[in-house]
C-alpha cells in the first residue's frame, strides 16, 4: 500500500496537479492581498501555495538521485530558514522597506545563480536555444535586481547617503546605455555562438551587476519604495524566464503574475506619490544638505491647553501656516479633514505648507501617501531639509499627531536617546499648536520639551475630530 502510495505521489500527473493547486492558491492569495479585510488571509493562502509547490518538487522521482543531493538541498533550505526567519521576525517596522528590498535582492540573486549553473551545465551540449535565451534574460535581469536591491537597501538603511549619486550631466544615462548594450550583445553572442568560453556568462553577470548599481545609485531615498517595487517586478519576470527555460508551469505563472502585478503596483505607487516612474528612474530627486541652527529650548513644567476656536483664530490671521503630520494623523485617518482645513485656510489667503519628516509615520513615504490620497498637491509637501529654514518665517505650526520628529531634545540635549536625529525645527516658528490625544510620550518613549515651551499650546483629542472642529470654526470666522 505504501509502495503504491509513494509511486502515485511521484507520478508526473500528481506533481503537475500539485503545481496547479499551488499557483491557484498563490493567485487567490494575491487577490486577497489587495483588500484590507482579506489581506492577512491572502498572504497565508499564498504561503500555503508556495509550500505545496516546494513539497511537490521534492517529491519528483529522481529528485534525490546522486550523492549528497539531499544533504545539499537540506543545507540550502536550512541556511535560508536560519537567515530569513530571524531577519523577518526581528526587523523593526520602520526598517520594513529595506528588508523587502533585501528579500527581493536575494530572489534576483537566486535567479542569476540558477542561470549560471544552467549555462555551465548545458552549454555546448544538447541545450535548446530557447532555454538559452530565457536563461540569459534571467541572468541579466536577476543580476540587475540583486545589485539594485542591494543599493536600495544601503540607501534606506543609511549605509549609503540617501541623496542621489550620479555622474555629471548626461553621462549617467550614457553609461547605463552602454552597459545595457554590453549585456544584450554578449547575451546574443553567447546564444548564437556554439563554442564561447564559460567565462562569458560571468562577464554578463558582472555587466548586469554594474548596471543594477548604476540604475539605483542616482535615485533619492524618498523614491526607494517605488524602485523596490520596480525591482520586484523585474525579479518576477526573471523568475518566469527561468520557469520557461526549465519548462516548469508553477514558476512561469508565479513569476509572471508578480511581473505583471508588480508593474501595475509600481505605477500606482508612483502615482500615489505624484511621481512618474520614468522621472524616478531618471533620478536626482530630493535630498539637500541641511544646516540646522541650534536653538535654546528650556523646558518649563506647565502645558497650556487651548480650544478649537482659539486655534482657528490663530490660524486664520497667520500669513504662513505649516502643518507637521505624524503617526497620529495616520491612526485617526485625518488626512481628508486636514486637507479641508488647508483649503479653508487658503480661502482666507493663508499660505499652507506641509512639513514631511522622512520617518514620520511608520514607513518612508507614509505621510506622502496619506496626504496624496487626500489630493494634497505634491508641491505643498516639503521635505524636512526644505522646510526647516522656513520655520523662522512661519507664524503658526500645526503639529498633528507628531511627537518625536519635532522634539527639540534631539538637538539640544546630548543625553537624550534621540539626540542627533534630524527633526522638524518647529520650535523656530512664531507659535506652535500641538494636536495630541493625551500627554503620553511618543514612540521613543521620551518626554518632549516642545510641549512646555511658552510658545506652544496643546489641543487634546482625536486628530480627526479636532481638525474638523477647527475647520468649521475657520469657515465660520
Amino acid at each position: 500500500m505504501t509502495v503504491v502510495g509513494t509511486v502515485f505521489l511521484q507520478t508526473t500527473n500528481f506533481i503537475d496537479a500539485c503545481y496547479i493547486v499551488a499557483f491557484g492558491l498563490m493567485i487567490y492569495g494575491m487577490s486577497g492581498l489587495t483588500g484590507p479585510r482579506t489581506a492577512v488571509r491572502g498572504n497565508q493562502t499564498a504561503a500555503v501555495g508556495m509550500a505545496v509547490a516546494v513539497v511537490a518538487t521534492l517529491l519528483r522521482k529522481g529528485e534525490f538521485h546522486g550523492s549528497g543531493t539531499v544533504v545539499l538541498i537540506i543545507v540550502g533550505l536550512l541556511i535560508g530558514t536560519a537567515v530569513g526567519v530571524p531577519a523577518a521576525r526581528n526587523v523593526k517596522m520602520t526598517a520594513m522597506p529595506q528588508m523587502v528590498a533585501l528579500f527581493n535582492g536575494v530572489g534576483g540573486g537566486a535567479v542569476a545563480l540558477i542561470a549560471w549553473v544552467e549555462y555551465r551545465h548545458h552549454f555546448g551540449g544538447d541545450w535548446p536555444l530557447r532555454s538559452e535565451g530565457f536563461e540569459l534574460f534571467g541572468a541579466i535581469v536577476g543580476s540587475i535586481s540583486f545589485w539594485g536591491s542591494g543599493i536600495a537597501f544601503g540607501k534606506l538603511q543609511e549605509i549609503l547617503p540617501g541623496r542621489p549619486i550620479k555622474a555629471p550631466g548626461r553621462s549617467q544615462s550614457l553609461i547605463n546605455l552602454v552597459l545595457l548594450i554590453v549585456c544584450v550583445v554578449s547575451a546574443v553572442v553567447l546564444a548564437a555562438g556554439t563554442h564561447s568560453q564559460g567565462l562569458f556568462i560571468v562577464g554578463i553577470l558582472v555587466a548586469a551587476a554594474l548596471l543594477g548599481n548604476m540604475l539605483v545609485l542616482p535615485i533619492g531615498g524618498a523614491d526607494m519604495p517605488v524602485v523596490i517595487s520596480l525591482l520586484n517586478a523585474f525579479t518576477g519576470l526573471s523568475a518566469a524566464a527561468t520557469g520557461l527555460a526549465l519548462s516548469n508551469p508553477v514558476m512561469i505563472v508565479a513569476g509572471m503574475i508578480v511581473g505583471a502585478s508588480g508593474t501595475i503596483l509600481t505605477d500606482q505607487m508612483a502615482k500615489a506619490m505624484n511621481r512618474s516612474v520614468p522621472s524616478i528612474i531618471a533620478g536626482g530627486f530630493g535630498g539637500a544638505v541641511a544646516a540646522p541652527v541650534g536653538g535654546a529650548g528650556e523646558t518649563g513644567g506647565t502645558v497650556r491647553a487651548t480650544s478649537a476656536a482659539d486655534v482657528a483664530i490663530q490660524l486664520s490671521y497667520a500669513r504662513q501656516v505649516v502643518i507637521a503630520p505624524g503617526y497620529g494623523m495616520a491612526v485617526a485617518q485625518a488626512q481628508h479633514t486636514v486637507r479641508e482645513l488647508e483649503r479653508a485656510l487658503e480661502a482666507k489667503g493663508v499660505t499652507v505648507k506641509y512639513a514631511i519628516h522622512p520617518v514620520a509615520g511608520r514607513m518612508p513615504g507614509h505621510m506622502n501617501v496619506l496626504l496624496a490620497e487626500a489630493d494634497v498637491p505634491y508641491d505643498l509637501l516639503r521635505e524636512m531639509d526644505d522646510i526647516n529654514p522656513e520655520f523662522p518665517r512661519t507664524d503658526v505650526v500645526l503639529v498633528i499627531g507628531a511627537n518625536d520628529v519635532t522634539n527639540p531634545a534631539a538637538k539640544n540635549e546630548p543625553g537624550s536617546p534621540i539626540y542627533g536625529m534630524p527633526i522638524l525645527e518647529v520650535d523656530h516658528a512664531g507659535s506652535v499648536i500641538v494636536l495630541k490625544r493625551s500627554m503620553a510620550s511618543g514612540f521613543a518613549g521620551i518626554d518632549n520639551p516642545l510641549f512646555y515651551e511658552p510658545k506652544t499650546t496643546m489641543l487634546f483629542g482625536d486628530a480627526k475630530s479636532s481638525v474638523s472642529e477647527i475647520t468649521s470654526e475657520v469657515q465660520a470666522l
Binding site: A39, N43, M50, E63, G107, A254, M256
Partner: protein, 120 residues
C-alpha cells in the same frame, strides 16, 4: 503543440491574471502587497531544487546551495514580513505603544530604535 508554445501561452495568460488581480489597491496596502508578491517570486527556489540532482562539480553545487538558500530567504522572509506588516493595520486602541514592532523587538522604546525609527 510545441511545448514552448504552451509555456508561452501560460506566460501570457498569467500576465493578464497579474494585471487583473491588481486593478485597484488602496495606498496603505501598497507596501504589504509589494512584500507579498516579493515572497511569491521566491518560487525560483524550485529552479535550484530541480537542478540540484543534475549538477556536477563543486562550483555548480556551491552556486546551487547559495541559490536555494537565497530563494528560501526570499520566500520565508517575504511571507513573514508581510504577515507582520499586515498585523500593523489591525485596529489598535493605543498606537503609541511598542507592541506593533513584534514579539522579539524588545528594544523598541529604547535608544537603539530611536536613531532610525519612526515617531508618532
Amino acid at each position: 503543440m510545441d511545448p514552448l508554445v504552451i509555456d508561452i501561452a501560460v506566460l501570457v495568460l498569467a500576465g493578464f491574471v497579474g494585471f487583473a488581480v491588481i486593478s485597484k489597491v488602496p495606498n496603505t496596502l501598497h507596501t504589504p502587497l509589494m512584500s507579498g508578491t516579493n515572497a511569491i517570486h521566491g518560487i525560483v527556489v524550485l529552479g535550484g531544487l530541480l537542478l540540484m540532482s543534475e549538477s556536477s562539480g563543486i562550483l555548480e553545487k556551491i552556486l546551487l546551495v547559495i541559490a536555494v538558500a537565497f530563494g528560501t530567504i526570499n520566500v520565508i522572509g517575504g511571507f513573514l514580513v508581510t504577515d507582520r506588516m499586515l498585523g500593523m493595520f489591525k485596529a489598535k486602541p493605543e498606537p503609541a505603544k511598542s507592541v506593533d514592532a513584534g514579539s522579539s523587538g524588545g528594544a523598541d522604546a529604547s535608544g537603539g530604535e530611536a536613531a532610525g525609527g519612526s515617531r508618532s
